[in-house]
């Protein structure tokens, strides 16, 4: 039990990192990574939503299987995620207003983050049980957090770099992300146990 959880956790954070090897969640990864602070906030919010979504969608999936409505899963999951994000937003606004203002517009955008829907779909595809699903959700989010913080700190240095003018902005950011992906490939041979 513990072994499988550890395998999932290490796999999600390092070996099959959501950004660098599965390309899930690239939009916020490229969009909200100009400052380390916002990157950190975004990463934490995504981790939280991914963990919670994994848990709730596990139950929803059980319900759909019981009702023989598996083909509705995509629709059901995206609605659950949208409601969940809305709920998290209202909860933060009431109880932790400082974090709410810090995250600002990034919060509602988590709904359309493909990492969140992706983790839920992968949980179903991999037949994970409840604990494995939640662990995969949280550690997948942590992998996203590691990736976006690393990327934001590299991006900070880019203003001192001398690259061709046509690469200004997005293209050079993608090259940077590519180099980080190359570094993360070093983990790909890793085996646990």
């Amino acid at each position: 039990m513990f072994d499988s959880v550890l395998t999932i956790a290490l796999g999600a954070i390092l070996i099959n990192n959501f950004i660098f090897s599965q390309f899930l969640g690239c939009c916020p990864f490229l969009g909200c990574s100009t400052k380390i602070d916002t990157a950190l906030g975004m990463g934490l919010a995504v981790t939280f939503v991914m963990g919670l979504a994994s848990a709730i969608c596990y139950a929803v999936n059980m319900l759909l299987i019981a009702l023989e409505l598996e083909y509705m899963s995509t629709l059901a999951f995206i609605l659950v995620i949208a409601v969940l994000v809305q709920f998290v937003e209202m909860f933060l606004k009431k109880s932790v207003p400082s974090l709410y203002t810090a995250l600002g517009i990034f919060l509602p955008l988590i709904t359309t983050n493909c990492a969140v829907l992706g983790v839920v779909l992968l949980n179903v595809q991999n037949n994970y049980n409840f604990i494995e699903s939640v662990v995969y959700g949280i550690t997948g989010g942590l992998g996203f957090l590691v990736a976006i913080v690393l990327f934001a700190s590299v991006r900070d240095r880019l203003q001192f770099a001398d690259y061709p003018e046509s690469f200004d902005g997005f293209p050079i950011a993608l090259v940077t992300a590519g180099l980080l992906a190359l570094a993360f490939m070093g983990f790909s041979g890793m085996k646990i146990g």
Partner: protein, 236 residues
């Protein structure tokens, strides 16, 4: 209605990937072979066109506050239809694209076009917008696939084209081996890895920025020349 303008916007000047920079996840993730690119591109084209038409037809009935939720429900419906059809009729594509077919629900291109275009425009322009934006997306995917596949494994059109006994053949079930341009061991496997995806897209975006800047400079130079002409004429 201006078809020609919509056509150039969708394919070049307002290309969803290269200019609007949306839908990047799928663009980088699935472009490892020609078959994936064309399958994903056509799926998005069909879903985008259907969603555009439906959302545009309902645009007066959708309350502004809950429009995003309504869009998502419409999109998820069409994505589920396409997903089930692919599973039934092209299982190879469904297996090879994996979660990226259901993930079209959160592809920013579709929700972005709904928000930016369909909720203001009538049905017919929205229909053509869906087709042209879809073609623009497909073309970028195919470009990426061709570059990555050629450099990575030395073939062209894997899954779709092949040459058997000297005759050219095109299949739709993803079983074709592709046309070999150079031996496989000369290929740089890294181009098929995630790094290749990031790098190829970066180069395409940079090329697009270069082209747009050049054309803007040219226009500016022409405008300046025209102004000088006018001043000269006035002086004479």
């Amino acid at each position: 209605m201006n078809l020609k303008k919509q056509f150039t916007e969708g394919l070049i000047t307002n290309n969803p990937v290269l200019v609007q920079r949306i839908g990047l996840c799928s663009t980088m993730a699935i472009t490892t072979m020609f078959f994936n690119g064309i399958g994903m591109g056509l799926s998005v084209l069909i879903i985008l066109t259907c969603c555009n038409v439906v959302i545009s037809a309902m645009r007066k009935a959708i309350p502004n506050d809950i429009r995003l939720a309504m869009f998502v429900v419409v999109i998820a419906g069409f994505v589920t239809i396409v997903d089930l059809l692919l599973q039934a009729f092209v299982p190879a594509l469904s297996a090879s694209l994996g979660v990226f077919i259901p993930l079209i629900v959160v592809n920013c291109i579709i929700i972005g076009r709904a928000e930016a275009f369909c909720q203001k425009e009538p049905v017919v322009p929205s229909f053509f917008d869906g087709i042209f934006q879809g073609i623009g997306y497909t073309l970028v995917l195919l470009c990426m696939c061709i570059i990555r596949e050629l450099l990575g494994s030395g073939t062209f059109g894997a899954g779709v084209f092949e040459i058997v006994d000297g005759s050219f053949r095109a299949v739709l079930d993803g079983s074709a081996a592709g046309i070999r341009i150079f031996p496989e061991e000369f290929g740089a496997t890294i181009m098929i890895m995630p790094f290749g995806g990031f790098l190829t897209l970066a180069c395409l975006l940079a090329a697009m920025q270069y082209a747009l800047r050049k054309s803007a400079e040219k226009k500016e130079a022409a405008a300046r020349a025209a102004k000088v002409e006018v001043v000269k004429e006035a002086a004479e």
